[in-house]
């Protein structure tokens, strides 16, 4: 779609677009190019010179059990976060949709966690499950379960998943709720008259009608759990224990800033670049088309 009426001149539009272009070049494209360039080199320990190694950094990464483990961890983490944030959100949205009065109040209450930063959410959940003072871990202890996410990798993963999914429930709830409100009531009533009970109506009518929203949320939540959960992991586990919660983005940070391994960190950035590219393409190709049966 293009405008038919336009203004003439070429200097003014260039000046108008310049701020965005300059910032993109300086803070987006130059650093990205730099990451690609550096991924082919290994700097010497003093940072004075670097040696060209071709795809050496990549070959090393893909043979590195820790990096391969980080791929697996990221996959498990993002699948769990997506499920743990979408299922409760759908459940709450279905309930809220059945209420005519009061759904506004509930909605306001449920929006709160969205505004809480992932890093702050991490601190809140860390506090509840803290091995020394945590309320939940204390009650678990009374029930005979010895909670210790500092030593137990599985529990650490569980905690970062729940803390990451928590704020997303609000987000997913808003989208599911809006989609449910848009389902034509006449269709539902027709099914009800035909004797279809609630669950049958839900599975055969409502859920299929929600498929565009569901698919959109699947993609968006995977992107979220890849790139926006750094704060949660950094505050709760710091990637541990034994790297059991080290996801790809966390590893770029840990290797680049803590470990000062520039070549490897850059190569990891380039790999992530491909991952984002892929996810963006999926998002545009499928979400734009609006999956509909």
């Amino acid at each position: 779609m293009e405008k038919r009426v336009i203004f003439s001149g070429w200097l003014l539009p260039l000046l108008l677009i310049a701020p965005q272009v300059v910032i993109s070049l300086v803070f987006f494209f130059y650093p990205a190019a730099q990451a690609i360039w550096q991924s082919f080199f290994i700097p010497d320990p003093f940072g004075l010179s670097s040696r060209f190694v071709g795809f050496g950094n990549f070959e090393f990464l893909f043979s590195d059990p820790y990096y391969r483990a980080a791929f697996g961890t990221t996959a498990v983490f993002s699948i769990l976060v997506t499920l743990c944030s979408m299922i409760p959100a759908l459940f709450l949205a279905v309930i809220a949709d059945r209420l005519i009065k009061g759904s506004g109040v509930y909605r306001t209450m449920l929006i709160w966690p969205y505004a809480v930063a992932p890093a702050v959410a991490g601190v809140l959940w860390l506090f509840m499950f803290n091995t020394r003072v945590g309320v939940v871990s204390w009650y678990l202890g009374n029930l005979g379960y010895d909670w210790n996410h500092v030593l137990n990798g599985g529990e650490a993963m569980g905690l970062v998943v729940v803390a990451s999914a928590w704020g997303r429930i609000s987000y997913n709830f808003l989208f599911f709720f809006a989609a449910l409100q848009a389902v034509p009531k006449s269709v539902i009533e027709a099914a009800a008259i035909d004797g279809a009970h609630f669950w049958r109506r839900f599975w055969t009518i409502v859920l299929p009608l929600l498929s565009p929203t569901t698919f959109f949320l699947l993609v968006v939540n995977v992107v979220y759990s890849f790139f926006e959960t750094f704060g949660v992991i950094h505050t709760i586990t710091g990637g541990g224990p034994q790297q059991s919660t080290t996801v790809l983005v966390y590893k770029v940070f840990a290797d680049g800033f803590v470990g000062q391994d520039l070549g490897s960190s850059s190569a990891q950035s380039v790999i992530l670049l491909f991952v984002v590219g892929l996810l963006t393409i999926i998002q545009f190709k499928f979400v734009e088309k609006r999956v509909h049966y």
Binding site: K3, I17, F28, A117, L174, F175, L273
Partner: protein, 285 residues
């Protein structure tokens, strides 16, 4: 089922009651972490370190919040709040301004490189700060912008999303308005200020809500470039309040800080709920 026959799809009587109970339970579970943080920010340290801590607020609210705001752990929380405010507003306003300008250029002009720049802006979508942290850090350090507001704001300010949103919106502005402005001899910038900007008000407000929260909740970037506690933002500063080693954390002050860290974004979201939902849905389209 009787209620099904009467109400068809809307629950009534016992069913309605049960629906409310489920909803309230859901809200309570979702809300519990925030409640617990609030309770912890109103009691004393000994009450927390001897579990289980109380589940009802104590009477040390003023004491804990005053301590957090004016002395904090490394730096007073009021300083961190101010830094966060500057960063969040800087990012939101900056993104909106540069996106309004570039979208206006793309929609209302034909100039050399237009398509090229459009795709360039589009590609920034694929470059989140997380995939370019080390080199971006080097660029910012090279400009001497570590520990500065400029360093906190500029690397996050280019936004393809906002540009596309405004482009979509500008395309719906009737051509007659631009035609009339041209006939009257108004300059493009005059048209921009008097017609385009006022018409975009709702979009700008909706986007502001989303971008303010985006900026406020940043963690990784401030963590990298603010080594001076005076420049810490509140969201990244909380983690810095935990002692290293075996010392016991000052939980009441840390929890008071957590509550303070969520008040501004929660206030923005709840008070501008309709704009927020609109902004959310628009920016994901």
């Amino acid at each position: 089922m009787a209620s099904e026959r009467h109400g068809m799809v809307e629950k009534r009587g016992a069913g309605l009651w049960l629906t409310h109970v489920f909803m309230i339970l859901g809200v309570l579970v979702i809300f519990f972490p925030i409640w617990l943080a609030f309770v912890a920010s109103t009691v004393t340290q000994p009450e927390i370190v001897k579990p289980p801590m109380p589940l009802w607020p104590g009477d040390h609210f003023w004491e804990n919040y005053t301590k957090a705001l004016f002395s904090g752990v490394n730096v007073p929380v009021s300083t961190m709040l101010f830094n966060s405010l500057v960063m969040a507003i800087g990012i939101a306003v900056g993104k909106i301004v540069i996106s309004l300008l570039s979208a206006f250029a793309i929609v209302y002009f034909r100039f050399p490189g237009r398509t090229f720049f459009f795709w360039m802006i589009f590609l920034t979508l694929m470059l989140p700060v997380e995939v370019r942290i080390v080199p971006t850090f080097e660029v910012v350090a090279g400009f001497g912008m570590l520990n500065s507001y400029g360093g906190l704001i500029f690397p996050l300010i280019a936004s393809a999303t906002a540009t596309f949103l405004f482009r979509q919106f500008f395309l719906t502005i009737p051509d007659e308005l631009a035609e009339a402005a041209r006939v009257d001899g108004a300059s493009p910038m005059r048209f921009f200020w008097d017609i385009v900007v006022p018409m975009s008000r709702t979009n700008v407000a909706a986007l502001f809500v989303i971008l303010f929260i985006y900026g406020w909740n940043q963690y990784l970037w401030p963590l990298l470039i603010t080594t001076d506690p005076e420049m810490n933002t509140i969201v990244m500063g909380i983690k810095q309040m935990f002692p290293s080693g075996d010392d016991v954390a000052d939980w009441p002050v840390i929890m008071a800080t957590s509550i303070l860290a969520m008040i501004p974004p929660v206030f923005v979201v709840v008070s501008m709920q309709r704009l927020f939902i609109r902004g959310l849905v628009d920016s994901e389209k």
